[in-house]
Subunit: 398 residues, 2 copies
């Protein structure tokens, strides 16, 4: 006798994220983990946040510890709006809400638009948390292949032309998770045209956009958008600290208002103390300089990892060379399964995430895998990639 037969259809088959299960295993062991997507903890401004915490709790504790409004702490909303405006993001019709991490912004947008069975187009592969979020509404996830310059927009057009009830397109256009790929300007423009033409909305998930360490900045899709097709979601997790669970959502007023109503019944509002901390940090410190530091560190680590891969991996293994973000995407020779390679590597104390995890069809065999470089010290990158190279040379030709 159990409750499981009473579970709703939408969650019955929903599984936890493999990444987070791996994260649990690797947290307490001597493993070298290129799994997960942790920012470098040495970049957390611990001292600054400690000083601000003290000040906020002693002088405005009655605000920080009390209930707040669902939209978010008003001064932080203003600060975020101003900051986004410096990137050219935000039109008259847009509003901003503070959310409990970008994940919540994506979840709320999905809840607002998707009936069970409605279509949402997803880059394939894509971020597992978002894909599972859409699955949890029993949506119809429609995969579009990722190419070197972003999603295949011809395939997208075909989908929009032939599939009924498609309401949303979900994209991480810049330094995508898991591939590290950045969508070209031409594709960004085409994506907007197609959204307009077929009357669908775009969720632009941009947690990594500020972490460019090579190449030239591109405009966000939200910047290019002149009609409000884009629901834009960003995060403090990669530029300040993920433990605070803070992000923002920007969308046309009527969309954002409905997302806020859904947030109200989800967690009432985001941690107010954390919102005040983020706001004061942005006001009293220079986050641009702080982010430059993060970019420099990730650029070094990415460069080192790629150099080690060039040295140790067999030539038959190919990989992306990202210009920012946290991830490198590797492709094994056709017919190989990255889960087998993962098992062999974990036995040698090196972990990464097999590519099937990020696919709309998680059950199909997949010859790709994701490496994270942001949270690993130099010597661990060197030794971990060397170990992986040894394993790969044993199983791959070339």
């Amino acid at each position: 006798m159990g409750a499981t037969h009473l579970f709703s259809n939408k969650v019955k088959n929903l599984q936890g994220s493999a990444i987070r299960e791996i994260l649990k295993l690797t947290q307490q062991s001597d493993i070298i983990s290129f799994a997960g997507g942790l920012p470098a903890p040495e970049m957390f401004p611990e001292k600054e946040l400690a000083a601000l915490s003290q000040d906020i709790l002693l002088n405005r504790g009655h605000v920080a510890l009390q209930y707040g409004i669902t939209e978010g702490y008003a001064p932080l909303i203003e600060t975020v709006k101003k900051r986004l405006a410096t990137f050219g993001i935000g039109k008259d019709y847009d509003q901003v809400a503070i959310v409990s991490g970008a994940q919540q912004g994506i979840d709320l947008a999905a809840k607002v638009f998707l009936n069970e069975g409605d279509g949402i187009v997803c880059e394939n592969p894509s971020f597992i948390g978002s894909l599972n979020g859409f699955r949890a509404y029993n949506a119809n996830l429609i995969p579009v292949t990722m190419q070197a310059d972003g999603m295949d927009v011809q395939a997208l057009e075909q989908i929009l032309k032939t599939t009924p009830n498609v309401k949303l397109i979900y994209t991480i256009p810049t330094f995508q998770n898991p591939t590290g790929i950045t969508m070209s300007l031409a594709k960004r423009q085409r994506l907007l045209q197609l959204a307009e033409q077929y009357n669908v909305y775009i969720i632009e998930d941009n947690p990594y956009g500020e972490l460019r360490f090579a190449g030239e900045d591109l405009p966000t899709i939200k910047q290019l958008d002149q009609t409000g097709r884009v629901i834009y979601v960003g995060s403090f997790s990669k530029i300040l600290a993920p433990g605070l669970r803070l992000g923002w959502a920007m969308a046309r007023e009527e969309i954002l208002a409905k997302m806020v109503v859904c947030k109200q019944v989800s967690d009432v509002h985001s941690n107010l103390f954390a919102q005040m901390l983020a706001d004061e940090y942005l006001k009293q410190y220079d986050i641009t300089t702080h982010i430059q530091g993060i970019r420099a560190l990730y650029g070094e680590r990415c460069g080192l990892m790629l150099a080690c891969m060039d040295e140790h991996f067999p030539k038959s293994v190919t990989y992306t060379r990202p210009e920012g973000g946290l991830f490198i995407w590797c492709t094994l020779p056709e017919g190989m399964n990255s889960i087998d390679v993962m098992k062999a590597c974990v036995a040698k104390k090196v972990a990464f995430v097999p590519g099937s995890t990020f696919m709309v069809d998680q059950d199909a065999p997949c010859n790709c895998f994701r490496l994270n470089y942001s949270s690993m010290a130099e010597e661990k990158i060197r030794s971990g990639i060397a170990i992986m190279g040894e394993v790969l040379r044993g199983v791959c030709n070339g």
Copy 2:
């Protein structure tokens, strides 16, 4: 041209909570607000939390500011489990997760069980946040009248006997929001029997249970439950601070595991810094003594408000005399509409929440309203109730 016609059926008709809209209005004005459900800010342990913040960020900032696991910060889960055990809560088959406020625990339980159209029995009136949460899944909310000793269990039996696809019963058995009513022991036992007999699960929402200032403690339904019928949800909001957005959910392992998967796609995990703060507070300070202070204060304020109501309200207005919690529930003479009275009172700078807000059918006229006493200083209770008395004597007979 707008997005609203694309919104999902489940959220299309969802409105924001009137309480929170009122909260917004009353936050920045000179109004005496008996609306909202704010705990007394003077009871927030600001200095203690400031000292702990400093210590956590300076010494364990790399943990507090990093990603954590969805279930919650492991030491806090243990601390909460131990604390619940001192109240006799928790069986071998139960697990605990930390959630972003009790609201999230309720939302997750609803998501796990409810298909669109599935039935959930709700006390009528009940907490608007939960009711809206259930509405946001397009569930069938089935009202059961509140009596002086809790929900009408005879009506409940009739519902369970005759209504298909009822999966959940939602109850706040102790110092209910909005009525302040506590369910009798006999009804708690009967509720469990009925849940067992008709194979439905119970969400026991208990944010106020520790705030008793009169009468004798009763066992929670979770304590009485021998088979795991109860999903138990509690909160730090009323015993520590709501701004931290922390609560807990306890349920049979297989139910909680699915709730955790849903939490993962909602906000990944609750603010880790706040979780560490709560854990250290519970370890280093005596929360029992702290709560005694809150209880004493609320007891005084409730007593004062009732005394003022006895003095100023016309005899035709009746009200509950709660033994704990935050709320008094008032009933106007039949045929009157509390919204009219609210408008008249707001014109005189006193706010409260009209009863229709808390009803499953929010559109039906309602002669009840809710008063909150926890967050108002003595002199404001005196003057606010005197003003209300004046308005009420003008519109009521007797």
